[in-house]
């Protein structure tokens, strides 16, 4: 749409790269580039350094798949955590979400996505084999499946629980129900039905 010659080639390159970030389109990438130039010392140079450092030092943990500068990661390496429980999540973002909630003290296993016939993602594309291997260890007593509550996520959950049958572990999954702070009027039928079915004594 715009002529390449409008900006210098360096700026053009920067804007093109920025527009590849999720959440930024061409217009917001241009705004971001201008903002960065206005704040060269407080934002642009530090961001450049931070990107290079993370690219250099942050890698997936070979045990659980979490991203960290150390391998094993600080969660696998933390002796205060409960090694009898493994929580299976689709992505590192989900692991972060659970860590922010701050109420889980076990270990994690990032499988790296969900099974999807449409996108051609099969069991071999996910880190499921390594999960089974970990679950076979005597110390592991429970595997919590915390995949997303989407169709693909639930398919993946069923597949994993099938594969875990031969391991001597309890397999559990997250509860469905009314989100804390949520209004019933805005909830879908499926969630309401699940919340009603799993009702608990007051």
């Amino acid at each position: 749409m715009y002529r390449k010659s409008s900006y210098g080639s360096e700026l053009d390159q920067l804007i093109q790269l920025l527009s590849k970030l999720p959440g930024l389109g061409p217009r917001s990438a241009r705004r971001a580039a201008l903002q960065l130039i206005k704040r060269k010392d407080s934002l642009m140079r530090p961001l450049s350094t931070a990107l290079a450092e993370v690219a250099e030092h942050v890698n997936p943990c070979t045990s659980c798949g979490n991203l960290d500068t150390t391998d094993p990661c600080h969660i696998c390496d933390n002796t205060k955590r409960d090694i009898s429980t493994i929580c299976v999540v689709e992505d590192v973002a989900d692991l972060w979400a659970l860590e922010r909630a701050g109420n889980y003290s076990g270990l994690y296993h990032v499988i790296g996505g969900s099974l999807s016939a449409l996108d051609g993602v099969g069991p071999d594309d996910l880190n499921i084999a390594s999960l089974i291997e970990r679950a076979l260890a005597k110390a592991v007593l429970e595997v919590i499946i915390a995949t997303n509550a989407t169709v693909d996520g639930q398919t993946t959950a069923h597949y994993i629980s099938d594969r875990l049958k031969d391991c001597d572990v309890t397999v559990t999954r997250l509860a469905h129900g009314v989100p804390v702070g949520g209004e019933l009027d805005y909830l879908d039928d499926g969630t309401l039905t699940a919340a009603l079915k799993s009702r608990r004594p007051f």
Copy 2:
């Protein structure tokens, strides 16, 4: 909200810097960071390099305020452009927008914002003195004021046209009217009134 220790400090630093970009909040900054790590070689390292290069080489043109690797910029330096006309814009983004439209062949002058009593931006905070200086040159015949059609932008336009009274130039401004592709039903009264007032023979 989230505990700092959740990610490594390098990742934390990167996410914090990303979330300062316009258009990215904490959540999308986390998503962007994960995306970057997934595409280290195709996105993360190139972005780091591009940021460093732009920080090093791109600076405002001392004549017009455009951002470029050369000074004067490629527009001021282009002998094919019409040096008798200067288009005054608030920001480099506005200059880019006019360049993308691709129908203006004169020079520019970026004043770097608009007058704003609320934000405490006075005439001395903008590059207006240098505009007057440029307008005094014999070669300059017309100054087009292309500040935004906001209250601040229009205040700035009036102030600039006042200051340009002593220069021997024609002062013009962009036309108001119906945007191309726009529907009358969705336009505000002010725009419709302006479009009606400035109607032209068919």
